[in-house]
């Protein structure tokens, strides 16, 4: 029995948990980091959705909008805006950080307007609750006109419900657009559709705003003329549309999100931050951590290194005696064993270094350090 193949794209703001969800879906172990920009290229993996559906899941780099500012954001735009792209998804899952719903809804509503099948996966609801933010999931789904599923990607909760919601949206098209660009830019969008030969209002709007959707090179002149004729300045049009979109989003946020006082832990985080980026103690702590790291890499790792060294020395001596004299003996002792030993001896140092870096990344300390060192590092081009 052959299974039905579907394509799912995961998109969302940087650091909202896309890769964590991707790993939960596929069982793969892609690197996840506690700061934006970890996923620079799209990654794909397979996931069994039901007995007869298997999904190809595409993890897209994080982006705030379909107006890319960097190469990795462009990757996300290219996949989502071109229905001729080989990775163009059947269903797009937007992952939203519940503590930052307003910002997440911007990308989400843009993707809805591209006329795609969209499911919203609401992540980090537990953290939102701690911050006193309560999201009414049902109301949100109703207002947006798409399925909304609360998940906890890290603890792998809600993944089955999300899969079910994705399967249920297959072959359904969203009923209406979220923001009608046709009404904002009257008489222009229809003509842009005509020039592009594709009936997709929002994609045509993006093309008008000089977004480089594939194949736009041929239409560029005609689109520029259209802009000129209707006195549209692409940058202004894009800003105008963004502001209007946020106005519509704010209406939804007002009704579906309730904010109370943060509880406990949030205050604690703030106090730790006060210390970590303190104008004096912040640097003292940073230098101490760097010193500790050097100490670990050069002093602490000396013990396992000595151990490995003596292990290989003994092994060489034993092998040299055990094997008959000749070319083979020479190859094994001075070639293979010596070469291997030369590499393995650095494993403790590298392990210490990576363990340290992983710890600093995961705790979010890196982000704090970059706040207080941005000024200096930029001076030498290292920001």
């Amino acid at each position: 029995m052959s299974k039905k193949q579907i394509k799912i794209a995961l998109a969302g703001n940087p650091n909202s948990g896309k890769t964590t969800l991707f790993n939960a879906f596929t069982g793969l172990k892609q690197k996840v980091g506690n700061y934006p920009g970890i996923t620079v290229e799209k990654k794909t993996g397979k996931s069994n959705f039901s007995n007869d559906i298997v999904a190809e899941v595409i993890d897209l780099p994080g982006t705030y909008s379909l107006f890319p500012k960097s190469v990795d954001e462009e990757v996300a735009q290219q996949v989502l805006c071109n229905n001729t792209d080989e990775d163009y998804p059947d269903v797009t899952v937007i992952i939203a950080d519940a503590t930052n719903l307003r910002r997440s809804l911007f990308l989400l509503t843009q993707v809805i307007d591209l006329n795609m099948n969209v499911v919203l996966a609401l992540n980090m609801v537990d953290i939102a609750t701690k911050k006193g933010i309560v999201v009414n999931v049902d109301l949100l789904a109703e207002e947006l006109g798409i399925p909304v599923v609360a998940i906890n990607a890290r603890k792998r909760k809600g993944i089955d419900a999300l899969k079910e919601a994705i399967v249920n949206t297959l072959d359904k098209k969203p009923k209406k657009s979220f923001l009608d660009v046709r009404r904002i830019f009257q008489g222009v969008i229809e003509k842009a559709n005509e020039i592009r030969g594709i009936e997709n209002d929002y994609a045509s709007f993006l093309a008008l705003c000089k977004q480089k959707l594939s194949g736009e090179v041929f239409n560029r002149c005609a689109l520029n003329q259209l802009c000129k004729k209707h006195e549209i300045i692409p940058e202004r049009a894009q800003a105008k549309e963004t502001v209007k979109r946020y106005k519509a989003i704010d209406k939804i946020i007002l009704s579906a999100v309730k904010k109370g006082a943060p509880v406990g832990r949030y205050q604690f985080t703030k106090r730790v931050d006060d210390l970590l980026i303190h104008p004096f103690f912040g640097y003292v702590i940073f230098l101490s951590i760097l010193l500790l790291l050097f100490q670990a890499v050069f002093s602490w790792s000396a013990y396992p290194m000595e151990l490995i060294d003596s292990l290989f020395t003994n092994l060489s001596i034993w092998t040299a005696d055990a094997l008959p004299q000749g070319m083979l003996n020479d190859l094994v002792v001075n070639g293979i064993l010596a070469g291997l030993g030369g590499i393995v001896i650095f494993v403790p140092q590298i392990a210490f270094l990576f363990a340290f870096i992983a710890f600093l990344e995961d705790t979010g300390y890196m982000a704090r350090v970059s706040f207080i060192t941005d000024k200096f590092l930029r001076g030498v081009g290292l920001n």
Binding site: T99, T242, V243, I277, F371, K375
Partner: protein, 77 residues
């Protein structure tokens, strides 16, 4: 009207205008729309970045970018 870069920690205000098209678009799509309430939460030492609270998250903005942002001050209730 004040420049964001000149405000002290704890100051509350409302976003007004941004005098750089690229920066404006970047901040707009991150939710810094005109009229949105902001609060200065941190300033890095030695003229480093400024952290502002905007729609429940903290955003760091470099000082030279903060010079391009106009903010209307809000009086404390």
């Amino acid at each position: 009207m004040q420049k964001l870069a000149n405000l002290a920690i704890g100051t509350k205000g409302e976003m007004r205008s941004i005098s750089d098209s690229d920066l404006e678009q970047k901040l707009l799509e991150m939710g810094c729309t005109p009229g949105e309430k902001i609060e200065i939460v941190r300033k890095a030492p030695f003229g480093g970045p400024i952290a502002i609270l905007v729609s429940s998250y903290v955003l760091s903005i470099r000082k030279e970018d903060a010079m391009k942002i106009d903010v209307k001050l809000l009086k404390d209730e």
